[in-house]
């Protein structure tokens, strides 16, 4: 039959429903993996297409059409489906023709941008390609499985695609679990197809088949596949926990790692061809529409405790000065290599405050250095993106380590941090140097009048630039809702205007950008800084503090320039706590006017945060921790990539152990668990819940007796419940009278039940269970028919 399947006549027995179902689940898993990458909005359409694609593939595979016709059909369906899904991505009420026009317009834009080698601004092409890809993969999988019954050929292309997604994706952990599930389904499908095709052959050669062979085989395949996947997925983590195994694993995994590295290189050109621009700290950065950020650790930072309790660290990667209404950029800049010996540099911005020595350990290969404040010295050779002003002073945007940092490599930075008080900030005045005025008051041409009006309104009454900044920060914190995801950005509206007045939701990029623009509109120089927020405080080393910074701590914030003080961070994003600065020495009357101090509105400092900062006088200044003298202790941290949290190893292992114990216990004649629990409760003279009573009663029944309950349930569901005084035979007789076609099955069940209950022999559940299953199905059908007939009668009565 498998040799000439296309010619075979289609019968129900040749259709493998379970196989089809498994394939459907597998394809949905693959689509979910793509969706979970969060590469762009509307990726959920891929799931829909994978579903319909698999179904279409299966149906076409089982059809009698030739390959050519099938291809044409698949193409037509696919074109329809993809257009339909792409059209749905546009919000609002539009005619379908308009939607199509808009889709093609977007596609043309993307193609033009690609040709001109400009950053791609729309995700439409990517979406279209992904939709087509998943449609093709799903149709292929369904078709191949149905027609030629080759599970591996059916699933391999999707598997390879998932591999590519895994390597390109940002959330390797999550992605790899999707892949694990897919492999699980592949194994299951292979086992299922093997059984199904052989079953047909066995049947045709009249080979004896035990009644429950299919059930047993499927169950065995399920267990084997599960164990295989869990073990292989946890192998790296397992191996690392045992020192001898770790060495073996290291050796064994070396070739694998190199293959991975090769693959990564191989696929790297793919990364920026179709994706929306996401060069995170590039010279130019768009605000983006938000992505889910993982718990992957990025770096661990050792710092001295700050001198004042309100201070918070901001790990800045880069600052931007120019906003064109869509993207931030850092103007024209040079890049210079600076060796550790070349410090100190003459910065135009001479930060004042206190000097801190921080040590940063990167948990992944990286080049960008994260530095709070104004750096004075870096232990690493760096390539600095800087700008030289007419007076020969320099300012920098970002620093990149040269050579690149390796995983777990550390660098030390001596930096000048500000610990200014509010009084000092208010006293700073507004005598900005020329270079500041030139670069940090620039506004986008698209800025609207109402944005300007808002800035002026908030600034009205504020006496100093600091007050303006504080008022603006508070305004944003009060009026804008935090939302990690943004819809498709408007094309015909200024983004800041849309954000402030229409959408009024967003994440840090929008908060910070809006604040910078409003500040500049009010005449206060500000810049946009990106990097990471402080992160989670983990156990400190010695006197210092240690922060673990994860991917999800990614952040951006506005920095305001104060003459003779330098850049000072503000925090408009509600998801972060407000910055509490010390008041300093202020005149009493000034204090009354202080707009920022509002104990009702400002978020209070958390108790545990207060503990973080001992009184200033007690703080011993930590000595610089140099990487070569202090070995990194971050090895125990879960690394990025292929390591799996321990929980994932333990849970399946404990589950398997319990399962084994339970089976062993059952074999050794122990009563079932609910019975044990019930008898335990009774012994303690505690009340036994009725549900538990029922369950233990049920669990204690031998299987044929459980199977016979189908007859009782059938009688009840058909409206003639069994009486306790009725013998089983009488019940079966009654059921046979109600449902004559079930008579034979009920007799089989009766025989086994009577043997089990009344005789000294054991009944055979291998006989009773299939009969029970079949009877259950039959009764269900009868039940539906019964109700449909009743409904029909009722409706016809009503008509009469």
């Amino acid at each position: 039959m498998a040799d000439s399947p296309s010619k075979s006549h289609l019968t129900w027995s040749s259709v493998d429903i379970w196989g089809a179902l498994i394939l459907l689940l597998a394809q949905l898993t693959a689509a979910d993996q793509l969706y979970a990458t969060g590469w762009t909005n509307h990726l959920e359409m891929v799931i829909t297409l994978a579903f319909w694609g698999t179904l279409a593939g299966l149906l076409l595979g089982y059809s009698a059409f030739g390959a050519g016709i099938v291809f044409v059909f698949a193409l037509l369906f696919g074109l329809f489906g993809i257009h339909w899904q792409l059209g749905l991505t546009l919000l609002g009420d539009h005619a379908w023709l308009d939607r199509m026009y808009s889709v093609y317009d977007d596609l043309a834009t993307v193609v033009n941008e690609l040709i001109a080698q400009e950053p791609v601004t729309k995700s439409m092409l990517f979406l279209a390609l992904m939709a087509a890809l998943f449609w093709a993969l799903s149709v292929h999988a369904g078709y191949v499985l149905a027609r030629s019954r080759q599970p591996w050929t059916a699933t391999l292309p999707t598997f390879l695609t998932m591999l590519v997604i895994l390597i390109n994706g940002r959330y390797v952990n999550l992605s790899s679990w999707f892949l694990a599930f897919y492999i699980f389904f592949m194994l299951l499908l292979a086992a299922r197809s093997f059984y199904h095709s052989h079953y047909q052959r066995w049947k045709s050669t009249v080979t004896y088949l035990p009644e429950l062979l299919g059930y047993d085989l499927t169950r065995a395949a399920l267990v084997v596949a599960l164990v295989l996947v869990v073990v292989s997925w946890n192998a790296p983590a397992l191996a690392e926990s045992l020192p001898p195994a770790a060495r073996i694993w290291e050796k064994a995994s070396q070739p694998l790692e190199s293959v991975r590295a090769q693959l990564e290189n191989f696929f790297s050109p793919l990364q920026n061809t179709v994706l929306v621009v996401y060069g995170y700290y590039d010279e130019s950065l768009s605000l983006g529409t938000g992505q889910p950020l993982s718990m992957d650790p990025k770096m661990t930072i050792n710092v001295p405790p700050p001198p004042t309790s309100g201070m918070r660290y901001y790990w800045r990667a880069r600052s931007y000065d120019t906003f064109n209404g869509l993207n931030w950029s850092s103007g024209s800049s040079d890049s210079t290599f600076v060796s550790p010996q070349a410090w100190p540099l003459e910065f135009s911005n001479n930060q004042q405050g206190w000097e801190a020595v921080i040590q940063v350990t990167s948990h992944e290969k990286a080049s960008t250095l994260y530095i709070p404040g104004q750096p004075q010295w870096v232990s690493q050779g760096v390539r600095m993106e800087l700008i030289t002003y007419p007076d020969d002073s320099v300012d920098y945007y970002a620093m990149h380590a040269e050579p690149q940092l390796d995983e777990e490599e550390s660098y030390v930075v001596r930096t000048e941090l500000n610990d200014v008080t509010i009084a000092e900030l208010r006293a700073a005045g507004d005598q900005y140097p020329a270079w500041v005025r030139e670069r940090y008051l620039q506004l986008p041409t698209s800025m609207t009048a109402r944005t300007q009006a808002l800035a002026e309104e908030i600034a009205r009454g504020a006496e100093t630039p600091y007050d303006i900044a504080a008022n603006l920060t508070q305004y944003l914190r009060d009026n804008i809702q935090y939302n990690e995801r943004m819809p498709e950005l408007p094309v015909d509206q200024d983004i800041v205007d849309w954000f402030l007045f229409d959408w009024q939701q967003g994440f840090c990029n929008y908060y910070a950008t809006a604040e910078v623009i409003l500040l500049r509109a009010a005449g206060v120089p500000a810049r946009w800084a990106v990097g990471y927020a402080q992160g989670e405080r983990v156990t400190g080393q010695g006197a210092g503090l240690t922060y673990l910074v994860r991917e999800r701590d990614g952040h951006s914030w506005p920095e305001v320039y104060f003459p003779n003080i330098g850049w000072v961070e503000f925090e408009p994003t509600v998801s972060q706590e407000a910055i509490e600065r010390p008041l300093g020495i202020v005149e009493p009357d000034e204090f009354d006017l202080e707009p920022n101090i509002n104990p009702d509105r400002d978020l209070p400092i958390m108790d545990d945060e207060l503990e973080l900062f001992p009184p200033t006088s007690d703080i011993p200044v930590p000595t610089p921790v140099l990487p070569q003298t202090e070995p990194s202790n971050t090895g125990s941290l879960p690394g990025s990539g292929w390591q799996i949290p321990w929980l994932w190893v333990f849970l399946p292992a404990i589950g398997l152990l319990l399962l084994g114990l339970w089976r062993q216990a059952r074999r050794s004649g122990l009563p079932p668990a609910p019975v044990l629990v019930e008898s335990g409760l009774r012994r303690l003279s505690l009340p036994v819940p009725r549900l538990l009573q029922r369950w233990s009663y049920w669990a204690a029944l031998p299987r044929p007796e459980r199977d016979f309950q189908v007859v009782n349930r059938a009688l009840r569901s058909l409206g003639h419940p069994a009486e306790p005084t009725e013998t089983p035979a009488e019940r079966v007789g009654r059921l046979s009278a109600i449902l004559p076609e079930a008579g034979h099955l009920a007799q089989v069940l009766l025989g086994e039940y009577q043997t089990s209950v009344y005789s000294d022999q054991e009944a055979d559940w291998v006989v009773s269970s299939p009969a029970a299953r079949r009877l259950r199905r039959m009764v269900r059908q009868a039940w539906w028919q019964h109700w449909l007939r009743r409904l029909h009668l009722q409706s016809s009565n009503r008509k009469d």
Binding site: Q709, N712, T725, E726, T727, A729, V757, Y758, D760
Partner: protein
Amino acid sequence: MTMEQVQSIAEQIIANIEKVIIGKREAVELTVVGLLTQGHLLIEDVPGVGKTMLARTLARSLGCSFNRLQFTPDMLPSDVTGVSIFNQISREFEFRPGPIMAQIVLADEINRATPKTQSALLEAMQERTITVDGQTHNLPQPFMVLATQNPIEYEGTFPLPEAQLDRFLLRVRLGYLRREDEIAVLTSQQSTHPLETLASVISQAQVVQAQALVSQVYVAEGIKRYIVDLARQTRDHPDVYLGVSTRGSLALFHASQARAAVHGRSFVIPDDVKALARAVLAHRLILGPAARLQDISQEKVIDELVAGLPVPGGEWQLEAGG
């Protein structure tokens, strides 16, 4: 011998009897159950419905000897058991066996005999021996008494005392035939009586073997409880003056075993008990005067009790309190 063989023997006997006794499957089956349990049958019905024919057919089917005892008020115990006669030639007393010395005995209209004669028969039934002039004689094997009683004519009768009724394993009522069955009887007896051509289907040895095997039929604890509960409930029933004795429970127990064997089962199911309860228990009840005035029959009481007693293995939902 296996249960299947017992079943086939029973079926052969039943089929053979049904050649003569048409349309009385239930009564015939009860007769076979009585035979296999080594019990005795009380057939209670009006004359002419086939009581005697049933006994004769059974005897013929088994190839057993058959005697008929027509009870009359002037009948003496020796007319049942037999007498010792002085043989003048051999100058010895010689035992002349009475009609009881047969394997199947039909005691017709047992209630017409005096209690003295009745008790002689009943003793023979119970002991399976007779004692005449100090000499004990064993009755043949298999031995079965089918006694008949006319429920209509009570004039000049000596109703069996309850203690003696208890010795009958089963009470069977034949009743009138259905119309088609009666027509079939007419047809079958047009020229000859089918009994004349009836052959025996099994040997007496096989009957004895089957009787031995019946006692091996398994009775689950639940079924035993069910039987005892049923018997106990007759004792507490408000309409009943005297309930079923332990002999009654035992009778139901053994009869159920036989019925299971007749159906080819090596274990008793509640259906066996239910099917036999009327025949085994009803005649053992003495109803109270009030019930008699209300015309409540013994069968009705048993039916009521059976209908109200939950069967073992019939529970399928947890009752309150576990």
